[in-house]
């Protein structure tokens, strides 16, 4: 009997609309959301495949919210969210609190002297620095280092991490399902009573992160200069990790102020996916996360990037191998054309049938890789649709740029084929299905969609938007976006070591 059923199914097209809708409906049915009285949104998806669960805490604030002169602060706070609370990570919180206050007073005095434009007293500066470092050592006595992370690890936490980008800050890990209440305690305490202990040593760690990702990485160096050039007014121009001088200046007081202003319940979504029952889990989450104090949603309005009216170009010369990157301003993710950009990205970049692979890699044989994509450096605000390519030996970034422009001209002038359009839509559906088999990925998607659209169901509707894209849309949006004056180009150009004045 079963065999007959299987054969019958195989006769059907792989992706009948009905079967697809049924799969999605099954996930939708098992998903529950609730906005707590303090404004925090909780999304729970029951997926009882194994006794584990994953969570994803999405904070709708990122480096775009970094104050002037304090770039890197959103990311810095993310690191501090692993430093414990008034109960975790300390041997004596009242004493530690007083000691930490002293650290801030001495640091402020030190920085004030250090940054004097005139009449800086070097001897006094040394004293002030010593006073600050002594205060740091004084506070250190009360620290139980990394106790927060240790608890998560020893209780079986898997994949504990966090990240910050221009748009948002995310925290996540997975636990065995019997640790649900422990998780609710730990994750809520982390944002209820965070303590910015060991701040200045952690700042050094973050500076090493900057050296690793940006300063000592040729493409990292290019990206930073490229984005800074493409954005002249919007905060997207600033690096998430922060400029070196800001990293060497901001304080734990600044990080606490950032937290107080932006980490508020109405700015946060918590998604939980796995072997949990919403009826049992929601009350536990309410009990713990309901304690977060309600505060007004911060004003996140920023300068709007004005239209770009001239081509911009950044060329980094060094010993590194050549690399080509270009970007065009496009509207934010709420644009009715967002799915059209997704379709263009898929058409140009996805796999060996993609336009750029076939033109630059297979036929012209000038690139090892080429792709186009949205989301640089974020997508919550108007951002860039970018193309990049890696030349094979003997070919130059300029040739890659020319070849990319030839492909861009094609989609501006000619309709894509029916087969291509169908392929894009089929792949969007299959990708959505493939993403459903993973607790951590689902938690991430549900939290982000809930935050971005105010409704997690938009995750499942994303394919409907792609399904509506027409060939005319692709031509229209390409013509509106891919123009010379709307373009910024970034190139790593290789020069022989002898003539190089030392990169950076």
């Amino acid at each position: 009997m079963k065999q007959v059923v299987i054969r019958a199914l195989i006769l059907l097209s792989a992706l009948t609309a009905a079967a697809f809708a049924q799969d999605l409906a099954s996930f939708e049915k098992r998903t529950t959301e609730k906005v707590l009285p303090n404004g925090l949104t909780v999304v729970i998806l029951e997926r009882p495949e194994a006794p584990v669960f994953s969570f994803f805490t999405h904070v709708d604030t990122g480096s775009v919210q970094d104050p002037m002169g304090k770039t890197g602060l959103a990311h810095m706070f993310e690191h501090m969210a692993f430093k414990g609370t008034d109960k975790i990570g300390t041997t004596d919180y009242p004493a530690e609190k007083a000691a930490l206050a002293k650290v801030e007073v001495t640091y402020a005095a030190y920085i004030a002297e250090r940054d004097k434009r005139i009449d800086r007293d070097e001897a006094k500066l040394k004293e002030l620095e010593k006073a600050w470092k002594d205060a740091v050592a004084g506070a250190q006595k009360y620290v139980k280092p990394n106790e927060f992370g240790e608890i998560v690890e020893r209780e079986g936490g898997e994949g504990m991490n966090a990240n910050t980008n221009d748009d948002e800050t995310n925290y996540f890990y997975s636990f065995p399902s019997n640790r649900l209440e422990l998780w609710a305690y730990l994750e809520s305490e982390r944002f209820l009573h965070p303590v910015t202990r060991e701040f200045y040593k952690e700042r050094d760690v973050v500076i090493e992160e900057r050296r690793m990702r940006t300063d000592s990485n040729p493409v990292g160096r290019l990206l930073e200069q490229f984005i800074t050039t493409a954005f002249q007014a919007h905060p997207y121009q600033r690096p998430t990790v922060g400029w070196m001088s800001d990293l060497n200046s901001f304080s734990a007081t600044d990080a606490q102020a950032f937290f107080d202003h932006y980490y508020i319940p109405s700015n946060m979504v918590v998604a939980v996916v796995g072997d949990v029952k919403a009826s049992e889990t929601m009350p536990i989450i309410e009990k713990y996360f309901g304690r977060l104090p309600s505060r007004p949603t911060p004003d996140e309005r920023t300068t709007t990037e004005p239209p770009q009216n001239s081509e911009r170009r950044v060329i980094l010369r060094g010993v590194a191998q050549p690399f080509y990157l270009e970007g065009y301003h496009r509207p934010d993710y709420r644009s009715p054309d967002d799915a059209v950009y997704d379709a263009i990205s898929d058409l140009m970049s996805n796999g060996r049938t993609s336009r750029l692979y076939r033109a630059l890699v297979r036929d012209k044989k000038i690139a090892a890789f080429a792709a186009g994509f949205s989301g640089l450096p974020g997508n919550k605000y108007p951002h860039l649709f970018s193309f990049y390519a890696v030349p094979v030996p003997g070919h130059t970034p300029q040739e890659l740029g020319d070849a990319i422009h030839a492909e861009v001209d094609r989609i501006k002038k000619e309709d894509i084929t029916d087969e291509e359009l169908k392929m894009i839509k089929t792949r969007a559906k299959a990708d959505l299905i493939r993403g459903l088999g993973d607790n951590a990925g689902l938690a991430q998607q549900l939290a982000i969609y809930q935050s971005r659209y105010g409704d997690w169901r938009e995750l499942f509707r994303s394919v409907d938007r792609i399904d509506k894209v027409t060939k005319a849309d692709i031509r229209r949006v390409s013509n509106a976006t891919f123009s010379e004056n709307n373009r910024t180009i970034g190139i790593n150009e290789t020069v022989k070591a002898a003539s190089q004045g030392g990169a950076q």
């Binding site: 194994a50 020893r154 305690y185 040593k201 760690v205």
Partner: protein
């Protein structure tokens, strides 16, 4: 907290797989141990932790055909997908030294070169229209063919899989394309400091000519001809060299019949050779790769590790958790949290299924603290003897491994991959259970014994990839320094360019 993911998308796409692996290792390596008293009852300890419900993951069905092919079938009906993979014995370990790169090229052109009846491009069109994937690859001890499709497309996709197994064509245009792309990765291999460090550290552990360390050059790459790919296929592609695994929305009995019909008539062939590769480590000391466009030093302190068959393996796993396995490991606590010297730090005694792994202690620190950071790691290694690992550290490490143990088998796909790996390396299929028991049995005495036996700071080769003009002290203050030249040998017939370690690219000037 370990990453701000700005621009991750573009970065991830151009990093080579090996570089990605190196980055992943570095991240995984983040760990340490705390001696903090854990007994003190605090708020969180009062939260009840009920017993975890019993969980017996679905076991894949194992089928062995008379021709020696081993098949694992894992039903998973959650989503309408079927994924499969075939692992074939024989990899870069067995390629000739003059043709290093052969297996990587084979792994690429097997798929892109198409079959006798269909070009690779035609396969691309057919598969992408169905959002399906069929891909091939090569690694140190095996090659592989894997696929993923919606279940309704299974028969169509599986026909392509069979065609690639039986009738690959390795068309020359795709070999040339693969060689050109491979040449690009050679030209670019000195751009990424972590990539350089991983590659050169492997040479220090295994010897520069070892199959676990050697690298393709333009000359070895260009020496590979289409006939070599055909010959490789003919030498290794036999059912008795293959392990097949399928997971997804199918009925195992029906799938078994289908696979038997497809493969049972295939005759046995010669078994792939099982060569044993010994490590030939460089002598301990200091090795320097100078790179003037970085402001951070990549430090790798390395030595040969162990095979997983070693009875000390379980105690070593606990040691690694204590030493370099997370936020509370000794190295993370000291080098990162206390001293603020590094973002990425970690390490431990390395292990592998069928050869000694790489024992390594790894960090990235600003040029100006290079020597200070090396000395700090040395001091942490000395402490392994001076401040023996305590009961509470062991407890934490074992709790961490055992409480998260479920994540080794929380998806049917993970269970399948574990079983396939054990089958491939001749480990008992219940090795994961043995592992759990081995961890549970491990005592403080065991861990201190393996620490004393395997961790010797004076036997480490210390590799630094960095900008020596900015070091806090010359590396030579620590000991004799060997300069490592990473200049890329030019393609045959092209002149050598100056020794900055950047090398030339064919035809680039």
């Amino acid at each position: 907290m370990r990453s701000h993911n700005v621009n991750l998308r573009s970065r991830a796409s151009y990093l080579g797989l090996k570089q990605m692996a190196a980055v992943a290792l570095l991240l995984i390596g983040l760990a340490g141990a705390s001696s903090a008293a854990y007994a003190q009852a605090t708020e969180w300890q009062k939260i009840p932790i009920p017993a975890l419900p019993p969980f017996h993951p679905a076991e894949p069905k194992r089928v062995e055909l008379p021709n020696g092919m081993v098949i694992f079938l894992q039903e998973d009906h959650e989503l309408p997908l079927i994924d499969g993979s075939i692992r074939i014995r024989g990899g870069t370990k067995s390629e000739p030294a003059a043709k290093v790169g052969l297996v990587d090229l084979y792994g690429e052109v097997w798929r892109t070169g198409g079959t006798k009846s269909r070009t690779g491009d035609e396969l691309d069109d057919f598969l992408e229209a169905r959002a399906a994937k069929v891909e091939t690859g090569g690694s140190v001890d095996s090659t592989s063919l894997g696929w993923s499709c919606l279940k309704g497309d299974f028969d169509d996709v599986f026909r392509i899989v069979q065609d690639l197994l039986q009738n690959p064509e390795f068309r020359s245009d795709k070999l040339e394309l693969a060689q050109q792309q491979f040449a690009e990765s050679i030209a670019r291999r000195n751009d990424n400091p972590a990539g350089i460090a991983g590659r050169e550290a492997a040479k220090l552990v295994y010897g520069a000519d070892s199959p676990y360390a050697r690298q393709a050059e333009y000359s070895t790459l260009l020496a590979v001809k289409r006939d070599d790919l055909l010959a490789w296929h003919k030498a290794y592609l036999y059912p008795n060299n293959m392990i097949v695994g399928l997971a997804g929305d199918f009925d195992a009995a029906a799938m078994e019949s289908k696979l038997k019909a497809a493969f049972a008539s295939w005759s046995k062939g010669p078994a792939a050779p099982k060569e044993k590769v010994e490590a030939h480590p460089a002598k301990p000391g200091y090795y320097l790769v100078s790179k003037d466009d970085v402001n951070q030093s990549n430090v790798r302190m390395v030595a040969p590790g162990i095979e997983r068959k070693n009875p000390d393996y379980f105690a070593i796993e606990v040691f690694n958790e204590v030493m370099g396995g997370g936020f509370s490991s000794r190295l993370f606590l000291d080098i990162r949290t206390s001293r603020g010297l590094a973002y990425a730090v970690g390490g431990g005694i390395g292990s592998a299924f069928d050869h000694p792994g790489v024992t390594r202690f790894v960090l990235g620190t600003k040029s100006e603290s290079t020597v200070e950071a090396i000395q700090a790691v040395f001091s942490d290694l000395d402490d392994v003897q001076k401040k023996p690992i305590t009961e509470s550290e062991i407890k934490r490490a074992k709790d961490s491994i055992l409480n998260s143990f479920i994540f080794n088998f929380d998806t049917p796909d993970k269970v399948l991959r574990e079983r396939m790996a054990y089958e491939f390396y001749g480990y008992p299929l219940n090795f994961l259970e043995q592992y759990r028991a081995g961890i549970e049995k491990t005592t403080v005495a065991d861990v201190n014994r393996v620490a004393a036996k395997y961790v010797h700071k004076d036997q480490l080769a210390v590799l630094v990839v960095g900008n020596p003009k900015d070091f806090d002290k010359p590396l030579s203050t620590l000991g004799a320094v060997t300069n490592v030249d990473i200049t890329i040998p030019p393609p045959p017939g092209e002149p050598q360019v100056g020794g900055t370690g950047q090398g030339s690219a064919p035809g680039s000037r």
